[in-house]
Amino acid sequence: MLKGHLDMIVLAALAGAPAHGYAVIQEIRRRSGGAFDLPEGTVYPALHRLEQQGLLASRWTRSESGRERRVYALTRSGRRALADHHAVWQRFAAAIGGLFAETAHAAAGSHR
C-alpha cells in the first residue's frame, strides 16, 4: 500500500526544505513516527522519477565530509501536485472515517 503513495510521501517530506536522499528518508521516518520504514534505496528512483516529471529540481552540492551529494527541492509544479495529493487524501480519509464511524456505531448497537 505504501508503495502506491511513495511519490506523495516523498513530496511531503520535501515540503519544508530542500534535502538530499538520506535526509528525505530520515524525515519520512521521523514524521511518520517510524511507521514508514521503506527499503532506503526505494526513495532514490522515486526522487529521480519526480524530477523527470518536473515536480522536483536537483543540484549537486558537497557534504561536510567532502562527498558529492544531490539535493532535491520542490518545484512550483511539485507544490501544486502535493496540494492536489493532500486534498485527495483528505477526502479519502474523511470518507473512510465516515465508513468506520458508521461501522463502529452499528457494532455498538448490536452489543446492546
Partner: protein, 231 residues
Amino acid sequence: MRPPDPIADYLDALARALAFDPALARRVAKEAEDHLREAAQTDGGDADAARRAVAAFGDPRALARQYAAAALTARTRRLGAGTVMALAGIFLAMEGRVAWYGLMQWGLADELKAMSAIALPLDRYAFLLALALAIVGCVYIGSRRAPPELHQGYGQELHRAVVLCAAAAGALIVAVTTEAVLTILRLLAAEPSAAALVPAATMVVEAAGAGALVWSIRTAFRRAMQATALL
C-alpha cells in the same frame, strides 16, 4: 588486496544492474555511496554498520528495475522525437536539392527519366510511410505513463515503440537510398562543376541523418535488452 568493503561491493553490483544507462549508473552510484557512507558512519562506522546500511538499501536489481521504467521511457521518447527530427532534417535537405536543381535549371537527362518515373514515387511513398510510422511511434510512447517499476508488459510496450521507430528508419533508408542513386546518376551524367557540391552535400546530410537514427535505434534496442534482463 583491497580490504573488504561491503559498500564498494554493493555499488559495483548496482552499477552492473544499471548498465542499461551508463550516465544514470554514474549518478546513482554517487548518490548511493553518499547515502551508504553516511548511514554507516551514523551507525558506528565499522564493517558491520556498512553491511547493515547495504542491507537497508535494498536489492540492487530491484532498485535498477525501478529506475529502468522512467529511464527507458525518457530514452524512448527522445528516440521518437529524434526520429521525427531526422525526418524533418532529411526532408529539408531533399527539398533544398530540388530547389537547387530548379535554380540551376538542372534538368534530368533523357536516359534517367524512365528510371526517375519509377524511383520518385517509391521515394515519396517510402518517406511518407516513414513519417506516418514515426508519428505513430511518438504518439504511442507519449501516451505511455512509466510505472513505478519495470515489468514484462511495460517492457513490451517500450519495445513496440522502438520497433515503430525502427520501421520508420527502414522506410527512410529506402527513401534516402533511392534519392542517393538518382543524385549520383544525375551528377555522373552532368559536366563536373562546383554546382554539383550542393546536391552532394545534401546527400551527405541525408546519409548522416539516417545513419545517426539507425545508431540511436541500435543503442535503444541494446539498452532495452539489458534492462529487460533484470526481469
